[in-house]
Amino acid sequence: MRGLSSALNLPDPDGFYAELVRLYDGLDRDAAEAVSARLILLLCNHIGDRAVLREAFALARGAGLAKE
């Protein structure tokens, strides 16, 4: 069973994205990083499944490197 979903799971993706970007409005770099860290922790706890999270960690780390 594959854990992490790569298919779109967000209703109104453009609206979601605009809301996410708005979250950081007016924050300097340090404040933005703190918001990101809190957000990651909240979402990780919500997901709960360690295998899924581990998969997401690997993907997030690897995405910026050479393509598969």
Partner: protein
């Protein structure tokens, strides 16, 4: 005032100011509704120079087909339906704007605004309109309870033009807007763009192509569209610091093009412009007897082809209403509904257009970090592709919540819900030949009906006979199951034998009924004419 009031009938009914795509569509639509002598003024001396607007959507083509020239435009234009999105050299994904068959028109054609306008001008002449009064520049405006006076600079000196109504289709720098002291509310974006049309033998494909970080234009984005005659439109994002005067010079433009097309023996620069844009609109579009349509009423970014197309949709929404008001068959509430419906449509266009711009040119900081993360993940993660916004292309607004909307059928498919523009479908015509549903709907109110296998019941035939004499009439269009050759009328409209859809003259859905009810249809007609009270009264009778 000692003089008795002059009746509106003593003035010409309409002056349209601005002979661009919107003013021409408006004038043509009014001509088909019996107003053949609409005065059409324009300060220029002929159709637009250069390409300017080029992407015309299926909905716009459907509207122009109703005016007798959609298919002609398709023949002249370059048809496309696929978009490709690149990051650098790498293709991230493709999208198809019309994956399902069974439409009478393509998703999009590309055709220069010059050719588009020229085709409409020819069409106006063909229907007996006297033509555009070129080099007529409006310099003054006054309006009273029953008419508008325009002071106009003409080649023969200043003249006064009067009419009961004025349609201001005079573009983004609208003089009429200024004369009424009206401002637009919204956002101005400071990103500059270079737009260039080139003729070339280099094969750059058929699709809309969009690059983030293009290999030929590092750091920013680029967009390319193909036009007829091996002409390509290339749009370069230049950033906020670009100097427009310098960027307009051929010595700056040519090297940019060479990086796309190779050396300059392989292409010819036809037209170029440097622009910024805004996403803004008037608070409302109807100002007593002056009605704004197109860019005079609202402006958007070019990403998504929502400028020219939304202006055509404005004209489509306004023409039938204005004609009915002039004929005395509807009251001013119908014109107010133009403002309500098109302001809502405009806000939808502005939302999509502003979001696309924010994605393409994110602010520094997290907005840029997130945008680049989306591009990065999109290589392997389908969900991230859905977040990439290179422009959400123009689709007709669904007039949700319009005061003209009548009875609803909650089980209707979203694509044909109350307020939606009618989807097309192949149907066999009365002559037995293949044809299209939208061609059969015509220009007035229509009752689309699927009769039971036993044929049109007497009750329906009797109502239809009475409806022919209403003012305005409703024409019954009964599509038998056998003539719904691909079953798409039933599936796209969610109809079954016995169900009925009331369609407005602009081919938007006004009311839906699971089963036939003549009185309820007549109440919906009254409501679709802006007469809410009448509709309620009729509903009580029912």
């Amino acid at each position: 005032m000692t003089q008795p009031p002059i009746s509106a009938a003593s003035y010409p009914p309409v002056i349209v100011v601005g002979a661009g795509p919107v003013g021409l569509t408006m004038t043509l639509d009014l001509a088909f509704r019996g107003l053949r002598d609409v005065i059409l003024l324009d300060e220029g001396d002929g159709p637009a120079v250069g390409s300017r607007a080029i992407c015309w959507s299926r909905r716009s083509l459907e509207i122009l087909s109703r005016l007798g020239l959609g298919r002609q435009l398709v023949e002249r234009g370059f048809t496309w339906q696929t978009g490709r999105v690149f990051q650098g050299d790498e293709e991230l994904f493709r999208f198809d704007l019309q994956p399902d068959p069974g439409y009478g028109h393509p998703a999009f054609i590309n055709l220069s605004q010059h050719e588009f306008e020229a085709a409409l001008i020819d069409r106006l002449a063909a229907v007996g309109h006297p033509g555009v009064a070129w080099r007529h520049r409006v310099t003054g405006l006054t309006q009273t309870a029953d008419h508008v006076s325009l002071t106009v600079e003409t080649p023969d000196g200043p003249r006064i033009f009067r009419a009961a109504w004025v349609v201001a289709a005079d573009g983004p720098r609208s003089m009429l807007r200024r004369l009424l002291g009206l401002g637009c509310i919204g956002r101005i974006f400071d990103e500059r763009f270079l737009i260039a049309d080139v003729r070339t033998s280099v094969d750059l494909g058929r699709e809309r192509r969009f690059w983030f970080h293009p290999p030929f234009h590092p750091g920013d984005s680029a967009l390319m569209h193909r036009q007829p005659g091996n002409i390509f439109r290339i749009d370069f994002q230049l950033g906020v610091d670009a100097d427009p005067a310098a960027e307009r010079k051929p010595e700056r433009i040519m090297p940019r093009l060479e990086r796309v097309l190779g050396d300059r023996t392989r292409f010819e620069l036809i037209w170029a412009s440097v622009y910024i844009f805004q996403c803004s609109r008037l608070e409302r579009f109807v100002h007593e007897r002056v009605i704004f349509a197109g860019d005079s009423a609202h402006q958007v970014s070019p990403f998504g082809a929502r400028g020219g197309n939304s202006g055509i949709h404005d004209a489509d929404n306004l023409a039938w209403k204005l004609a009915l008001v002039i004929e005395g068959k509807a009251g001013p509430a119908l014109l107010e509904s133009y403002s309500a419906e098109r302001v809502a449509a405009c806000d939808e266009n502005i939302l999509h257009s502003a979001r696309a711009t924010d994605f393409m040119s994110p602010k520094p900081g997290m907005a840029t970090v997130l945008r680049d993360a989306v591009l990065d993940l999109a290589r392997t993660q389908p969900f991230a592709r859905a977040l990439i916004n290179s422009g959400r292309l123009s689709v007709p607004a669904v007039l949700d919540g319009s005061p003209l909307n009548g009875a609803d059928d909650p089980d209707a498919p979203r694509s044909a819900r109350l307020g939606a523009a009618c989807p097309d479908a192949p149907v066999r015509g009365e002559d037995g030949r293949p044809g299209w549903l939208l061609d059969r709907l015509g220009r007035g109110f229509v009752g689309l009906y699927i009769p039971p296998a036993s044929g049109v019941p007497a009750e329906v035939a009797k109502a239809a006979a009475r409806w022919r004499h209403l003012s305005p009439p409703i024409a019954l269009l009964a599509v038998e199951e056998a003539d719904d050759v691909a079953g798409l009328v039933r599936s796209r409209y969610g109809m079954a034998p016995g169900s009925f859809v009331l369609i407005r003259p602009d081919q938007h859905i006004a009311a839906r009924f699971r089963s036939f009810d003549a009185a309820a249809v007549e109440a919906a007609l009254a409501r679709a004419l802006g007469g809410k009270a009448d509709a309620e009264e009729a509903a009580c009778v029912a």
